[in-house]
Symmetry: C2
Subunit: 382 residues, 2 copies
């Protein structure tokens, strides 16, 4: 989807009736999947009887279509049979095939089963039990590794004419990320397993605080400038300065502020508890403090001006089976090539006829014959 | 770092003494930052007095160096002054400048202050209080958008000769992701704010279970095949089948299994509570069940065979100031161009002399003069 949102013509090929995600929750009142609509934006959709030799041949012809538009496939299906790299690259030698698997050996795994092994659930929350984060972070990360990897492989192909198979295991995405963030090194070098710290930052000062009106805010200080801004805005500079000698730490050091975090919080908690979110917002305005209010998905959508069509990554779009809906494009802005505006998702099979006609040169009568034979399907309600 | 791990020559330019992340926790016993070492792998490091006109001129010359190696800059610093796109592109018109900001208007934000606004903390855990996930998912996602965006901009430059400024706001990374996952649509269309579900999946069956030996496992079923495998392996098929009529749901449907999740869990809980992790592992082997044990960062590093040099994304590397350490490369595998092996991080300023000599053709005597004048610095212990 990211590549489609960057301007590529991305064609999703599904079996007739849809794949396993076609009716995934959440659903619109009419039963159309909002999940599917949100994750297939800006693509074209083709529905073929992939369990028949004819459907497989049409898919192969599309994947291996001559010219710059063809020769690329991204899949998370098993690589055997007609969809193997071997079979497809015999048809088009410069094929780039991106294949996402659960494990490096091709085993099955999903975000949840990779996440439980990552160490994060046992480091999230307060430690009574593992806490799964709700954000499917490994799926999101894998998708962006795939878009990076495709562009890298296409760059290499432009230089050498050579295609290739690019593989990515969801478990390796997790392992690389855990290692990139220093958690592996901390165990190896210090024998230290990061404990759950609730909502506190590790290695710097940051925590959530409750307000007088039942809201919560996240307050952080990374730089010394941000740190001093907290004392200045709250009028607590002198009392905060007492914490350094009291806790025997250097409060001009990120690590020192982390070590003294409970004492710092003890001073700040009553300050926040006596003020409403609106009062805090007014006081912190222009102060250079790094903070923000917690909001739920409803508050985000209804109250946050950034989550609206005023933000150029969003636009109101009429989505088949759903109605008018605010959808987004990818978040990168390009000063010269511009941002591809937000686009909606297709309905399943919406482009079957136009794609087969345009790319494979299929005559109308032949499309009608394949349609009646159940090999291809046009737009279906879902 | 991802681009360096894909084979690019990535040069990080720091002020002498290092930037704010140079001593970020966790630290090795000697004080070297394991965080810095983990996040700067495969790069070269140059240290310049960036607060002096001479240091700024050297940095500008490096960024705008002629040839295919120059003309690219990634920064999260304010875009004013000598480092503005305007100033730098006047020196090299095909410059690609990637700029990461907190908000679209250039405001400050970090992973934590973006995350509290995302809706996820109030949807994670069991609902008594917001739960910050520990994984800095927005930073990870932003980094991969940047690598995708750079390759897209470089692809456009190859076609047209035109460079550009590419901007990315961390807040937009969050907003695009929340919207991609259907949370925005669910509020807009259904007025539904996803409630915290503990460790349960939304819209399908999945949950954690405690074992007889004090461990926990994550069990999920997305496809019907995976769902039926649970009944078969546990011997509970017939009793599970009673749940459909009892709860009046279709258990052959993902959503039906989600609606009946408490009844399903009530049946499965005692089964897991009577068995050790080893017994469960033996029973589930080859069953097609989608599951995994929870492990902390220590168990991951010590016990998981995938988190070891047996996995080609990892290798033991001697890291300056730290010693031997297992570090990783990026997780994509390329059948033709191969995987760039894992590489360590530089020490700060390790490549100042070689880079200035090689890229700018600086004579040794001139380097020595700049060094003595404090404009450049070689390797520093940190």
């Amino acid at each position: 989807m990211t590549l489609a949102q960057l301007g590529a013509d991305v064609i999703r090929i599904d079996p007739i009736g849809g794949n396993i995600d076609i009716s995934r929750w959440p659903l619109a009142p009419g039963g159309t999947s909002l999940y599917w609509a949100s994750l297939n934006k800006a693509k074209r959709s083709v529905a073929l009887a992939l369990n028949t030799p004819q459907g497989q041949e049409l898919a192969t012809a599309l994947i291996c279509a001559p010219g710059a538009g063809g020769g690329n496939l991204l899949t998370n299906l098993p690589s055997g049979g007609w969809m193997s790299y071997q079979k497809l690259s015999a048809r088009r030698s410069d094929l780039i095939m991106m294949r996402l698997t659960g494990t490096p050996s091709g085993g099955t795994a999903i975000d949840y089963t990779v996440n439980c092994a990552s160490g994060f659930p046992l480091s999230t929350g307060t430690g009574e039990a593992p806490v799964n984060h709700v954000l499917p972070a490994w799926d999101v990360t894998a998708a962006l590794y795939l878009s990076t990897g495709f562009l890298a492989a296409e760059r290499a192909r432009k230089a050498t004419g050579q295609g290739q198979e690019v593989t990515l295991a969801l478990s390796d995405v997790m392992l690389a990320t855990v290692s990139n963030l220093g958690y592996v090194a901390d165990v190896q070098i210090n024998n230290a397993v990061r404990p759950p710290l609730g909502n506190s930052l590790y290695g710097a000062f940051g925590r959530d605080f409750a307000t007088a009106d039942g809201r919560r805010i996240m307050l952080t200080a990374i730089s010394n400038r941000q740190w001093r801004a907290i004392g200045k805005a709250t009028g607590l500079t002198e009392r905060i300065a007492m914490i350094g000698p009291m806790m025997q730490v250097d409060l001009d050091d990120e690590g020192g502020r982390f070590e003294a975090r409970h004492a710092i919080a003890a001073l700040l908690e009553p300050w926040f508890a006596r003020r409403t979110l609106a009062e805090i917002t007014a006081t912190f305005e222009g102060s250079g403090i790094l903070w923000g209010p917690y909001q739920d998905f409803g508050q985000l959508v209804r109250d946050d001006p950034q989550c609206s069509p005023a933000n150029p990554i969003f636009a109101d779009i009429s989505q088949p089976g759903v109605g008018k809906l605010m959808l987004n494009t990818q978040p990168l802005g390009f000063s010269e090539t511009g941002r591809v505006p937000p686009a909606g998702a297709p309905s399943l099979g919406e482009h079957t006829e136009s794609v087969l006609t345009e790319i494979l040169g299929l005559p109308s009568a032949e499309y009608a014959r394949l349609h009646d034979a159940g090999v291809v399907a046009g737009p279906q309600s879902h």
